[in-house]
């Protein structure tokens, strides 16, 4: 338990440093949120700075910002008057998280069996097929995959819509596009990890007990082979749940990724910072969960 408390402490410290760095970087890059091609009069500029407290000393601004975050308040958007950054997150994240959650399930349910199949049929056609698919998935960028999927399934065959999430059919192409890379990566990991474990001495012991190959794989090999996979699972899940700009853009889905990229191109400073910090906190939380999960599956790792 002391370990968990320590880990949470470390997480908060990491998060503080991330907030500090984001804040410092945002305030040190040239140009301000209200810089534009049109000349703005000095009075208007001052009034704006006054309104958003930009004329306060930086440490005070930082402290105010930090206090705001503790209350779930990431400040107002500089671009959309009257809108809060937390509103954007509140609007964009549920959609990204829902799509991401479905993708995580799809990736896990497909990659692990694919990896197992490839490892068990090592060198046979099943292995070749899985590895070829996985190589395509890792190497082809998601926007290319999306374009091909839309061309074939929406334009040619007309079976799945090319945008929107109005029915379950709408999810299929975005999920494949979003999960393609992780699916391929995890399937390859699963395969190589299981192949390595199958060569271990304790697998020979299990065979010497008279277990069937299926029993050997599911009782003895699989759990051991999953350990290296869990390591990459945390960042992967965080990555999928927080949404992808590419996928959201192509399939016209109003997720968090779209808000994030728009805020960058529009120099909406508070939104950039807010979403960055939200992403960071989410990633830290997932990595923490993975570490806890480790202890559950590997008795050699203890909370201390």
């Amino acid at each position: 338990m002391a370990y968990i408390a320590k880990r949470i402490g470390m997480m908060l410290l990491a998060l503080f440093i991330i907030i500090l760095l984001t804040f410092v970087i945002e305030h040190s890059i040239p140009g301000g949120p209200f810089t534009s091609d049109r000349k703005v009069s000095k009075e208007v500029e001052e009034a704006l700075e006054e309104k958003y407290h930009l004329n306060d000393p930086l440490p005070k601004q930082f402290l105010d910002y930090l206090t705001g975050i503790l209350h779930g308040d990431f400040g107002p958007s500089y671009k959309y008057t009257g809108r809060e950054v937390s509103e954007f997150i509140g609007e964009g994240f549920p959609l990204s998280a829902k799509l991401g959650g479905i993708t995580v399930l799809f990736v896990l349910l497909a990659s692990i069996p694919m990896g197992i199949l490839a490892a068990v049929k090592n060198g046979k056609w099943q292995d070749m097929l899985v590895m070829t698919l996985a190589t395509f998935g890792v190497t082809i960028p998601s926007f290319v995959i999306a374009s091909i999927l839309i061309y074939v399934f929406s334009f040619r065959l007309g079976v799945f819509p090319s945008f929107g999430l109005d029915s379950w059919k709408g999810y299929i192409l975005p999920v494949i596009t979003l999960g393609g890379y992780s699916l391929s990566y995890l399937a390859r990991q699963m395969r190589s990890s299981l192949l390595e474990v199958m060569g271990m001495d304790y697998i020979r012991t299990a065979r010497a007990k008279g277990l069937t190959e299926v029993q050997v794989i599911f009782r003895h090999a699989l759990r051991n082979a999953l350990i290296p996979l869990v390591t990459v699972l945390g960042p992967t899940i965080a990555n999928l749940l927080t949404g992808s700009f590419v996928v959201e853009q192509i399939f016209a889905l109003p997720g968090l990724g779209v808000y994030f990229v728009n805020s960058v191109s529009q120099r909406d400073y508070t939104t950039i910072m807010g979403v960055t910090i939200f992403y960071a906190a989410f990633l830290l939380a997932m990595v923490f969960l993975v570490d806890v999960f480790y202890v559950l599956i590997d008795p050699r790792i203890k909370f201390d």
């Binding site: 271990m200 001495d201 304790y202 020979r204 012991t205 299990a206 065979r207 010497a208 007990k209 008279g210 277990l211 069937t212 009782r219 003895h220 759990r223 051991n224 599956i297 590997d298 008795p299 050699r300």
Partner: protein, 339 residues
């Protein structure tokens, strides 16, 4: 008395990147009921490969030749179905492996791993019965506080304790035959001694016959009734333990004995390692495999593999120099044996 197992003309080869490795080249031996048979040899002699062949635990690249026979319980283990083999594995023939640190699954409590051995072969037993038997087995192999220890994971055990877990597992179904593949090699000497003592006691109690594979002649002397000396994929000498030490009848065996350290040996006398290294088994020598390293080698030794020549009733050796017609000169180590 029928032998527990008889190996007839066993040959095993491996397909590797550098060619076909002929690891075992036609060996034959028998194991009598209740006997502990030692198989001695250095790394690469084929001793482990030959023992793994019995339960067909070799990697996929290995091939047991069609002429090979491993007769156990009236069946040839080389050709029985996988299902029949699974019933024998762990049921009638059990194995203990060299490295107890890596031979037990790190993620499963040890008691459960031993219990799995029982449930796999005695389906009718309830969980409670199995638990009781596991406790009994842990007591037999002298694991202290068995009630507490069965719930532990392998990493909470020392090497010696893990090997005891392996022995408990191997004996769980009262096998007719126990194959121990260098079970003490990875352990320090005091633990090694305890494990050997344990094996002897358990043999007495369970009446299990044992094939004990080792590179250590000193261990053989302590434990075994009979010995097969292997080198270059062949058995070079076969003898009851006392005979082997009194009348070693192969230059290789003699070399092994000269290399055993002995506390009573004067310090001024050096140990005699055997010069050279074992043959390349992708291209084994045509004659006696030991001939390139043998101090007594003659021309004939390189021409063909010598047949077994009987030294006494149970003692035989593959060496041309034992032939009654061999020249009895200074370079024949066996010349004083002749009556």
């Amino acid at each position: 008395m029928d032998p527990v197992i008889s190996i007839e003309n066993l040959s095993v080869s491996f397909q590797t990147g550098s060619g076909l490795v002929q690891a075992v080249r036609g060996i034959s031996y028998k194991l009598n009921p209740g006997e502990i048979l030692g198989i001695v040899g250095e790394s690469g002699s084929g001793k482990s490969v030959s023992s793994m062949s019995i339960l067909r635990l070799l990697p996929d690249t290995a091939r047991i030749s069609d002429e090979s026979k491993i007769i156990f319980g009236g069946r040839n283990l080389v050709s029985i179905s996988r299902k029949e083999m699974r019933e024998i594995r762990g049921g009638q023939i059990a194995m203990i492996f060299q490295d107890p640190m890596s031979s037990i699954n790190p993620l499963i409590p040890v008691g459960k791993q031993v219990g799995e051995m029982i449930s796999q072969h005695q389906h009718e037993k309830s969980r409670g019965e199995i638990q009781k038997e596991v406790l009994e087995l842990f007591r037999k192999v002298r694991i202290p506080e068995p009630e507490k220890r069965i719930k532990c994971y392998p990493h909470e055990f020392s090497g010696g304790m893990r090997q005891r877990v392996m022995i408990a597992m191997a004996l769980a179904n009262h096998p007719k035959l126990l194959i121990a593949d260098e079970p003490t090699t990875a352990l320090d000497v005091t633990i090694q001694d305890q494990i050997l003592k344990q094996l002897r006691e358990l043999r007495r109690e369970y009446g299990t016959s044992v094939i004990f594979i080792t590179h250590d002649l000193a261990v053989v002397a302590e434990l075994c009734d009979r010995v097969e000396v292997m080198y270059g994929g062949l058995i070079l000498e076969e003898a009851p333990i006392d005979e082997l030490f009194e009348h070693p009848s192969h230059p290789y065996t003699m070399g092994l004995m000269a290399a055993i350290p002995d506390l009573e040996r004067p310090r001024s006398l050096p140990l005699y390692p055997i010069p050279g290294s074992p043959p390349d088994m992708t291209n084994p020598p045509k004659g006696c495999p030991f001939q390139p390293r043998c101090p007594y080698a003659r021309r004939i030794c390189a021409s063909r593999v010598p047949d077994f020549i009987s030294v006494s009733e149970q003692h035989a050796s593959r060496c041309f120099l034992l032939d009654p017609d061999a020249p009895q000169d200074e370079k024949n180590p066996f010349k004083y044996r002749k009556s």
